[in-house]
């Protein structure tokens, strides 16, 4: 940074002056940024011509918020943060203190809490009322957790930047949708099949990009994702294009109980419960929970196997890796195909859950969201990724619930509209605030005497 920070104790007066000045500049800059886009609005009149509507009040609010915000940051927040940092350095950290019970058993507690979650939701909100909580929050977040854990194998462990992960998600979803409609296979047959097909596509992507590195790899994977989506849109004889495939059959509990309303072995009928779609959602919740935990388990086990160690070696240094005799071709291909396989599982789950797939669901934005969850979570830390998914996806879902905002901003205020705007801003803010992600420390799998978490800045990209 070019500007020198002044010491707050010695120069209290000049700090305020500086803050005032910077606040003023921020106001000017934000005026320039927003004058066209906020101050004026283009709307169509009755003759369908564009006309301008003026919104100077709103512009003033934007400018004032920027100026005051900058002033407060410079005058109060920054000195406070600096003082806290100094205090943290001065404080001697007690390394010998054992972790609390909660911290030691965090994983077990989290899993138990997740298993109890739908039951609690049913108890608190009633069978019908739990629907929203289990579906919008539980299942939605867990899908992203699973996808991010799958992508983590490629990006976090093997260090291959993949911007087209959603392609495998699409392959999984369409293979379930098409095969179940044309051949009538059940979910439990098609789930592994979707995974295998996605893994196969992962290999197909992997072969041409073996020689590519870094950003070249990123753009080719992005292109691959776009190609898959464009083919899905344009190959209308098979995929029905943008209309998508609807009425995809539901999954059943291993064929024992079904969730089709008319079936004799309907879950609610067998147990004599009132008919509700909530049971199916709860079943789907446990299904995705099991799939996500499978992903995590496989990742943890693979990290201790030769192939996992090879991935991490590849991430840290490809040349050293090659000179040690590791076959980088198979290492890269296994990373791509195993990562893709979990994407395929998640895809077929997505098809089952929605009952409808269309290319709309597999845009680049989805890849970006999944990648950002992986990076925000700390690249390789499974817990961190889960936390990031819960914060980012759950946070934006929560926005739908904020009806009280209507009382503040007036009745035409729709919080949904601002969902992606806030998501984008949150990505920026979290990344600037914590560049190493939510969980910045790393737990090595290979260690000499005792396992010690090291700071993330010691590793090149991810976990290890």
């Amino acid at each position: 940074m070019a500007n020198i920070t002044t010491n707050p104790e010695s120069a209290g007066g000049s700090l305020t002056a500086r803050a005032l000045r910077e606040g003023f500049y921020a106001g000017i800059v934000s005026l320039g940024l927003f004058v066209l886009f906020v101050g004026l609005e283009t709307t169509q009149n009755i003759r369908n011509e564009l006309v301008l509507r003026q919104r100077w009040g709103l512009l003033l609010t934007f400018v004032l918020v920027a100026a005051v915000g900058r002033f407060l940051t410079v005058a109060y927040v920054r000195p406070w943060v600096a003082a806290r940092k100094a205090a943290a350095v001065a404080r001697v950290r007690d390394e010998s203190a054992p972790d609390s019970f909660f911290k030691r058993n965090f994983n077990a507690i989290a899993i138990v809490a997740l298993i109890l979650y739908p039951i609690l939701a049913m108890l608190i909100f009633g069978v019908q009322g739990s629907l929203k909580w289990v579906d919008n929050f539980g299942i939605q977040i867990l899908i992203y957790v699973m996808l991010a854990w799958g992508l983590n194998i490629v990006v976090g462990l093997a260090g291959l930047l993949d911007l087209g992960y959603v392609a495998f998600y699409a392959v999984g979803a369409y293979s379930y949708a098409l095969l179940s409609q044309h051949f009538g296979f059940s979910f439990w047959v098609l789930l592994p099949l979707a995974g295998i097909l996605a893994a196969f596509w992962g290999m197909i992507l992997g072969f041409p990009v073996l020689r590519l590195k870094g950003d070249y790899l990123a753009i080719v994977t992005l292109a691959f994702g776009e190609i898959i989506r464009l083919v899905l849109i344009n190959w209308t004889e098979v995929t029905r294009g943008t209309f998508g495939i609807s009425s995809i059959p539901k999954a059943s509990v291993f064929g024992i109980w079904s969730f089709d309303v008319g079936a004799a072995n309907n879950f609610a009928k067998v147990f004599g419960l009132p008919m509700s779609s909530a049971y199916y959602k709860v079943f789907l919740f446990y299904l995705i929970l099991a799939l996500a935990l499978l992903t995590a388990y496989v990742t943890i086990r693979l990290r201790r196997m030769p192939v996992g160690r090879a991935w991490e070696a590849l991430r840290e240094d490809e040349i050293a890796c090659r000179s040690l005799g590791i076959n980088t071709v198979t290492t890269k291909l296994t990373a791509f195909s195993i990562g893709a396989m979990f994407g395929g599982f998640a895809g077929s789950f997505f098809a089952v859950r929605q009952g409808f797939v269309s290319p709309e669901s597999f845009v680049f934005l989805e890849s970006a969201i999944i990648l950002s969850i992986v990076v925000l979570g700390g690249m390789g830390s499974l817990v961190g990724i889960a936390v990031a998914a819960a914060v980012m996806v759950g946070g934006t879902e929560l926005l739908r619930e904020m009806q009280f905002l209507k009382q503040i901003f007036g009745p035409d205020f729709t919080p949904e509209l601002y969902r992606m705007l806030i998501f984008g801003l949150a990505m920026v803010i979290v990344m600037v605030w914590k560049p190493r992600g939510f969980v910045g420390s790393r737990e090595p799998t290979a260690f000499l005497k005792e396992r010690k978490a090291v700071s993330g800045s010691f590793t090149k990209e991810g976990h290890g």
Binding site: D215, I219, A223, E226, I233, N234, Y418, V428, R436
Partner: protein, 300 residues
């Protein structure tokens, strides 16, 4: 034959626009080694600024000459886009400069999402059509060339010359090239690295804004989601030409434009983007650092 040349002209126009955007990608990549994913949205923002200024001007002065109108639109778009890109660099990329490679990429993607949604929220999600600005069409040996196509190609050539001059002949350009080669060494030699990087972002945004204005003039419509597809294609162009190389970006842009228009003319229009991306993949497999890119030598 005439049909072929006609498609060539169309491809050249489209390619010029892609080339202008691609320069911004390639300059930023060259100087700080990051993919500025928000660049496509800066292009869209420039188009919107031009659109709004167009509405303001036409509601105040009626019957202004088109040349002056276009110049004012372009100037306003350049100013606004430059200010945005400068702010974004300062807020979202500079704090992460010493961080690991993926961090600025994520903030760039975040900024891209933010910008397109910001425009969607403030300006509405619908297409914004404007009346045609330049509509005369010339007929040369049976090939119809629109005036707007000539303007686009001519403007691209002029801007490229200016930029080539700045980068190769001025002290600012020397500072940029020095920063690109070795940032720490450049700083030791007295180059204000932060300022150089800021100026690079401003220059890139200016070109993107010109491209945005041209796009608006060519198609006569602006929409908030316009940033993504041209942005990705321009980035593809930059990579195809060899990222970090200025002439490479233009060559890549022209190639992408030509591939697109020729493919749509002779094969199906549905798969034109598939063709573009496939050719990118094929070129990179055989020439992993692009057409004009320097092969990366890895020192151990």
């Amino acid at each position: 034959m005439e049909y072929f040349i006609q498609q060539l002209v169309n491809g050249l126009t489209l390619g010029s626009i892609y080339g202008l955007i691609a320069i911004g990608y390639t300059m930023v990549y060259g100087i700080i080694g990051m993919i500025n994913f928000a660049h496509g949205d800066i292009f869209m923002l420039g188009g919107f600024a031009a659109l709004i200024i167009f509405l303001v001007i036409t509601s105040i002065f009626v019957g202004l000459p088109v040349v002056i109108l276009l110049l004012i639109m372009m100037a306003a778009a350049m100013l606004t886009a430059a200010l945005w890109n400068w702010t974004i660099e300062k807020v979202a990329y500079r704090p992460l400069r010493g961080s690991f490679r993926l961090a600025p990429l994520i903030t760039a993607i975040g900024m891209s999402i933010t910008l397109s949604n910001f425009i969607q929220v403030t300006q509405g999600p619908r297409n914004k059509p404007i009346p045609p600005l330049v509509s005369s069409v010339y007929n040369v040996f049976g090939i119809s060339i629109a005036l707007k196509q000539i303007i686009i190609v001519l403007l691209t050539v002029i801007l490229l010359t200016v930029f080539w001059y700045i980068v190769n002949k001025t002290s600012l350009g020397r500072a940029q090239r020095a920063t690109e080669q070795d940032r720490k060494m450049a700083a030791l030699l007295g180059i204000d690295v932060d300022r150089t990087i800021s100026i690079t972002f401003i220059m890139g945004a200016g070109l993107a804004a010109v491209a945005g204005t041209m796009y608006l003039m060519y198609y006569g419509v602006a929409v908030f989601s316009d940033g993504f597809i041209p942005g990705v294609k321009a980035f593809t162009a930059a990579v195809l030409g060899g990222i970090g190389s200025l002439p490479g970006a233009v060559i890549g842009g022209l190639l992408i434009g030509l591939i697109e228009s020729l493919w749509s003319a002779y094969f199906t229009i549905d798969y034109k983007d598939v063709a573009t991306f496939s050719i990118l993949a094929i070129v990179l497999i055989f020439k992993p650092s692009g057409i004009l890119g320097r092969p990366e030598v890895e020192k151990v």
